[in-house]
């Protein structure tokens, strides 16, 4: 009697305080009314799937209602299910009698499902989709409505340091493969409901979840619609990594320059979101894509913003130098030593000539050979098992470097040039930017060895023309350098202190231009004279 009364009050209260979740409409294949039918159907679909689990049981303490849960082994939080969920479902003393106007599933929903995220379905296909996505399915006998419970779990990598974009000062967290963890990493940094994650499913087979992250009211106008449109055009069966998506949504797909900014760092994504950009996050990969992106952005490290602005500026200058080294140094070396000896100071010319005395190959053969050798060593360094790492270093440094010089095959000057180029390339903070420059070096070397400085310059001009014509989601790729936006320079070539960065980048942040209301002067308060 007492229990009945409280139950009534609770149900009345809950009925008043919230509306019951909408039951999704039946699709092409509605859920059958009997448990057996549904089970048979699922068994048929999941035939030969050893990881598919069906567990029938009786609902409630009395065990009057037959039910069953289905799930994919390894994708759900087993611990939670057996300890909490099943406990409640099987042993709770609940009133499960059919009543007028209140079907059984509603009562189950209200009283027994101790889970936060519950979806009610009538469509079998949607149900299957939910189950393969790592959720728990729950059928009740003689109910044409079933539940999908969000108890996703299973094994995933812990959040750890981002290896491709390491910093000395700054957050250490990097994205992981699980998109929910990744979104939480971002949400933790932007605690606002204005941060949105819009969900899309891409890949007819892989059914990969893709989220578009952006800040409402701040993101570039029409950007989200445009991203959605481009994403929806993708018809491929599988998305395994964000690289797949990247190639589908670029403005100029044939270019060597990547027009999205892949990053592993949540703080980098957050910085970009705050500039009015959006990020495309893909499940099963730790790399999110920042769009739109400009080339200067690819040459910036997250750390530039965390160290003091003077040092940040110094890093930017240094990187400007190293880009040039990485791109043109070998070409320049070839051009000067085999075409333009008059450009060298006499003493340098003499030294070089003395070094090169008796060497068998012309400079460009030497340089090409050593550049390729370095690329081989580097590639080997990425692929090889960790235990043989030192061996490769020895081969690279001693055998190829030292021995080649001592044997009189390669001049030490070439080794210096190749080494400087390689080291310069490694200073570039994003893999996307670094790889592009790494590749473009070779055509420039080719041009330089055939035409000297003229060839080199023509090559550079072609690159410049190309890069100027690129756009990333409508934003010029060289912005804010070309077209020049003076206020953008403060965060491109130099990095001004944060209290001077009043405006967001004009190209992307126009919608809500000011980051901070007034320019704080940074002066001490006026002292009372005490007269």
């Amino acid at each position: 009697m007492w229990k009945k009364l409280t139950g009534k009050i609770v149900s009345a209260l809950s009925a008043r305080s919230r509306t019951f979740p909408e039951v999704q409409p039946p699709g092409e294949k509605p859920i059958a009314n009997t448990l057996a039918d549904n089970q048979n159907y699922l068994r048929e679909i999941f035939a030969n799937c050893t990881d598919f689990v069906v567990r029938p049981f009786k609902l409630g303490k009395g065990g009057s209602v037959e039910a069953c849960i289905v799930y994919i082994d390894g994708l759900i939080d087993k611990d939670f299910i057996s300890r909490n969920l099943m406990q409640t479902l099987m042993f709770e003393d609940a009133d499960l009698h059919e009543r007028e106007g209140e079907p059984l599933y509603k009562r189950v929903y209200d009283r027994l499902l101790a889970v936060g995220k519950v979806t009610l379905l009538r469509d079998m296909n949607a149900f299957v989709g939910g189950v393969v996505a790592g959720q728990l399915g729950l059928f009740l006998n003689s109910q044409s409505v079933c539940f999908i419970l969000g108890v996703t779990g299973g094994e995933s990598r812990d959040v750890s340091e981002a290896p491709t974009e390491a910093v000395i000062r700054g957050p250490r967290e990097g994205f992981v493969e699980d998109i929910r963890v990744n979104t939480s990493l971002i949400r933790r940094r932007i605690k606002s409901p204005r941060l949105k994650f819009e969900k899309l499913i891409i890949g007819t087979l892989t059914q990969t979840e893709v989220n578009i992250a952006y800040i409402e009211g701040l993101v570039m106008e029409n950007l989200v619609q445009e991203i959605k449109q481009r994403l929806q055009r993708i018809q491929i069966d599988g998305i395994v990594e964000s690289g797949y998506i990247e190639e589908f949504i670029e403005d100029t797909p044939k270019s060597v320059f990547g027009q999205t900014g892949p990053t592993e760092r949540p703080d980098r994504v957050v910085t970009s979101l705050l500039e009015g950009r959006a990020a495309i996050m893909v499940d099963t990969t730790p790399f999110a894509l920042v769009v739109p992106v400009s080339f200067p952005l690819l040459m910036q490290s997250a750390e530039d913003y965390y160290t003091r602005f003077s040092f940040g500026t110094f890093m930017r200058f240094l990187r400007f130098l190293t880009i040039n080294f990485a791109l043109i140094l070998p070409g320049f070396y070839i051009a000067v030593t085999s075409f333009h000896q008059e450009m060298m100071p006499s003493q340098l010319l003499l030294t070089l000539a003395a070094i090169r005395e008796g060497l068998p190959f012309p400079v460009f053969v030497e340089t090409f050979a050593m550049e390729f050798t370095f690329e081989i060593i580097r590639e080997a360094g990425v692929r090889l098992p960790r235990q043989v790492g030192p061996a490769v270093s020895i081969v690279g440094a001693l055998v190829i470097g030292d021995a080649a010089v001592n044997a009189g095959l390669v001049s030490p000057a070439t080794i210096i040039v190749v080494a400087l180029t390689a080291i310069s390339n490694l200073t570039l903070p994003t893999i996307e930017g670094a790889n592009t420059i790494r590749i473009l070096r070779f055509p420039l070397m080719l041009m330089a060895s055939a035409f000297g400085l003229i060839g080199l310059l023509v090559g550079l001009l072609l690159i410049l023309i190309h890069i100027c014509s690129l756009r990333s989601f409508g934003v010029p790729y060289l912005a804010p350098i070309a077209p020049l936006q003076v206020s953008g320079i403060k965060d491109t070539i130099i990095r001004v202190p944060w209290w001077l960065m009043r405006k967001r980048p004009l190209q992307t942040g126009k919608r809500d231009l000011y980051r901070q209301p007034v320019k704080p002067k940074g002066r001490p308060p006026k002292e009372e004279t005490g007269q």
Binding site: Q341, T351, A353, A354, I355, V363, N406, G408, A450, F451
Partner: protein, 401 residues
């Protein structure tokens, strides 16, 4: 897509088509650092004797176990001097190619030497050769040698391992600090030769016997010095100036940066170091026959050494200034007189006349070298002593009184 492939193929095939045109490896070059041009006679025929200093780079540790690094000290000779003759300079140069296993590389020439004989006969042909193509730098130092350029280039350098560096070093250093040498580069020299109303000059390289045999110079009893200035009238060598006169004319041209000067004041010698000279040259044309050039030189500087002359009074300073004025006016006058005698308008008075009175210039232009001899010079030097250093009195002052 097929268009793109075709385009890529065309571009790729263009690269070997050019075939590394004009590519030359560093080690295949015979780097020439100095060139001397003389005239000589083969029987009756006048020919050019071209002497070149060719660097021979020593292999810097190539070969197994070489270990790299530079070998040999600075005093070791690492060049050869080669002389060839030919009716034109170009031909003489080409004849050198037969004797050399490498491509002659003129781009690194530091010094061009004109022999005395050749300079007297005219340097236009040599200048034509030197400036026709871009490979010889226009900033190359031009010098005139007393005697044959060849003998200069064949003498041993004293401090440097290579002779052109030594000669060039002399000129740069002396021009910078003492103003005793009038620097002249190929561009300026050529321009002055071809511009009417302005004549060329060049520093003079001279061989002098050593009085004492120093240990450095054990091998030969001679060294060479950069000394004085050679004045040209049109393209021909017309006269010489000595060191003191060079300093005067260099000041008068406003090109001296700093220099020193010793003057007699009340029987004592005072050393004056000047810097920041300013000069003004104007012409006054009274009539066709009377052209007067007014030269006003202002120098300021300090006392560097005063043997026993007190310079701590207004009077003392005024005396020094007066003596400096007199000395400078004297050397400038004497230099200008010599240039008038040689008919070499190194000050560019003709250009000023042209600017002042174009019509008159057009009339007298043809006979300008002769007319230049009649130009009157009014020279005025104003000097100032600005610094006397840390000493009020000469150190000897205490002993004297």
């Amino acid at each position: 897509m097929s268009r793109l492939v075709a385009l890529a193929l065309v571009v790729l095939s263009l690269i070997p088509l050019a075939g590394c045109w004009s590519r030359r490896e560093t080690e295949s070059l015979a780097v020439i650092t100095a060139i001397g041009i003389d005239t000589a006679f083969q029987g009756e025929k006048k020919v050019y004797r071209v002497t070149k200093v060719v660097l021979a780079p020593k292999p810097g540790g190539g070969g197994p176990g070489g270990g790299g690094g530079r070998q040999g000290g600075g005093a070791k000779r690492e060049y050869s001097v080669l002389t060839t003759e030919g009716p034109t300079i170009e031909e003489a140069c080409r004849r050198l190619a037969v004797r050399l296993s490498r491509i002659t590389f003129l781009d690194q020439i530091r010094v061009v030497l004109f022999g005395e004989e050749m300079s007297k006969e005219g340097v236009s042909e040599a200048l034509d050769f030197l400036t026709r193509y871009q490979d010889i730098r226009l900033r190359t130092t031009v010098m005139v040698t007393r005697g044959q350029a060849e003998t200069m280039l064949r003498s041993n350098p004293e401090f440097e391992s290579e002779i052109s560096r030594e000669i060039k070093g002399f000129v740069d250093n002396a021009a910078e600090t003492t103003a005793k040498i009038a620097e002249s580069n190929l561009e300026e020299f050529t321009e002055r030769v071809i511009t009417p109303g302005e004549d060329a000059f060049a520093p003079v390289l001279e061989r002098v016997p050593l009085k004492k045999k120093s240990s450095v110079m054990a091998e030969s009893g001679e060294t060479f010095l950069v000394k004085g200035m050679a004045m040209f009238s049109s393209d021909k060598l017309a006269g010489w100036l000595n060191e003191r006169e060079v300093r005067g004319i260099w000041l008068a041209m406003g090109k001296a940066k700093q220099g020193d000067l010793s003057v007699e004041v009340n029987g004592n010698t005072v050393s004056y170091v000047f810097s920041k000279p300013k000069e003004k040259l104007r012409v006054r044309i009274d009539d066709e026959q009377n052209v007067t050039a007014m030269l006003n030189v202002r120098v300021s500087g300090g006392v560097a050494e005063s043997q026993s002359q007190a310079v701590n009074t207004q009077e003392g300073l005024a005396n020094v200034e007066k003596a400096v004025n007199a000395e400078l006016e004297g050397v400038i006058r004497s230099a200008l007189e010599k240039s008038k005698a040689a008919g070499s308008d190194i000050m560019g008075v003709g250009r000023l006349v042209e600017r002042e009175d174009k019509a008159l210039w057009n009339q007298i232009r043809a006979q300008w070298p002769q007319r230049y001899r009649q130009v009157e010079f009014e020279v005025k030097v104003e000097s100032k002593v600005e610094r006397i250093g840390l000493k009020n009195k000469p150190v000897q002052g205490k002993l004297l009184k």
